[in-house]
């Protein structure tokens, strides 16, 4: 997708009418052992000079039900829905389904794993992955 930052430095399309999209179901490499469907959260990914940011939409996920792991350059995000909230509710009409969220990204480049920042707000998870400082040049003494 092309980036066309406007004067404010953002690329929002505020005047546009929002469209409805069907949630995409997760096609995982490994099957789940627990029943239930997972969905793929919509993501925005952008890079600045010092960090890579991954923004994921996971409505209904609370902080405590969120798992973020970075292993072998693969970033994996797992957000779980607390279904007990739907207890005693009897559906009469449905336009979307609900389920847990999962998505993985293979990261290129070096990320400073110790400094990954995560912020969850209004059902949107923002992960900030700072780029590792390049190894300081080492002076080699010639013997």
């Amino acid at each position: 997708m092309s980036k066309q930052p406007n004067k404010k430095g953002t690329t929002m399309a505020e005047k546009q009418e929002m469209a409805v999209r069907e949630k995409k179901e997760l096609a995982a490499k490994e099957e789940k052992t627990v029943p239930g469907r997972y969905f793929v959260p919509y993501a925005d990914i952008y890079e600045t000079d010092d960090a890579l940011s991954v923004v994921l939409e996971m409505p209904g996920v609370e902080k405590k039900d969120l798992d973020v792991a970075l292993e072998n350059d693969v970033l994996r995000v797992d957000g779980r829905i607390d279904f007990s909230k739907y207890k005693d509710l009897e559906p009469v009409y449905a336009e979307y389904n609900v389920g847990h969220y999962e998505r993985s990204f293979a990261l290129s480049g070096t990320i400073d794993q110790e400094k990954i920042g995560a912020n969850l707000e209004d059902g949107v998870l923002t992960l900030t992955l700072p780029k590792a400082k390049h190894a300081q040049p080492r002076k080699i003494a010639i013997g």
């Binding site: 690329t11 999209r21 009469v92 009409y93």
Partner: protein, 140 residues
């Protein structure tokens, strides 16, 4: 309907129940207007109804809910912003305005409607109007 008979299967049972009600024409009867966003699920809880919609990334202050009679209007704006010097690699999140009106097929008490917004989920609590509730008739 017992959706939660077995806690281990609760999630898949619930998902199946929602799928089954995708075909429901329950809300179609009224003259609903405006856009189709956000998608809504309607639940019954005892006498009352609960409408739930997912609005990830929408701020609470950017949501407006209006009630008139049996009709609910839900409107607002969703903004997606990037820092000035960012190179955008992937852009899937949608932004824009939304305005949707739905008409409930039952009488509700507009004064008793409550809205709650948390973690990107909007829940509207719609108490059934007193006039709709069943009354026991004394046989004279």
């Amino acid at each position: 309907m017992a959706v939660f008979s077995d806690p281990f299967n609760a999630l898949s049972n619930f998902q199946q129940a929602l799928d089954a009600f995708r075909a429901s024409s329950w809300l179609d009867a009224g003259p609903s207007g405006g856009g189709a966003y956000p998608p809504m699920n309607v639940f019954r809880k005892g006498d009352d109804f609960i409408i739930i919609a997912e609005l990830p990334g929408v701020k609470k202050s950017d949501i407006e809910v209006l009630v008139k009679g049996r009709t609910l209007r839900l409107s607002g704006t969703k903004t997606v912003a990037f820092p000035e010097k960012a190179a955008v690699h992937r852009r899937e999140r949608l932004a824009g305005r939304f305005d949707r009106a739905v008409t409930m097929p039952v009488e509700i008490n507009p004064d008793g409607v409550k809205a709650e917004y948390r973690d990107g989920i909007l829940a509207l609590f719609l108490p059934r109007a007193e006039s709709e509730k069943p009354k026991s008739i004394k046989v004279g």
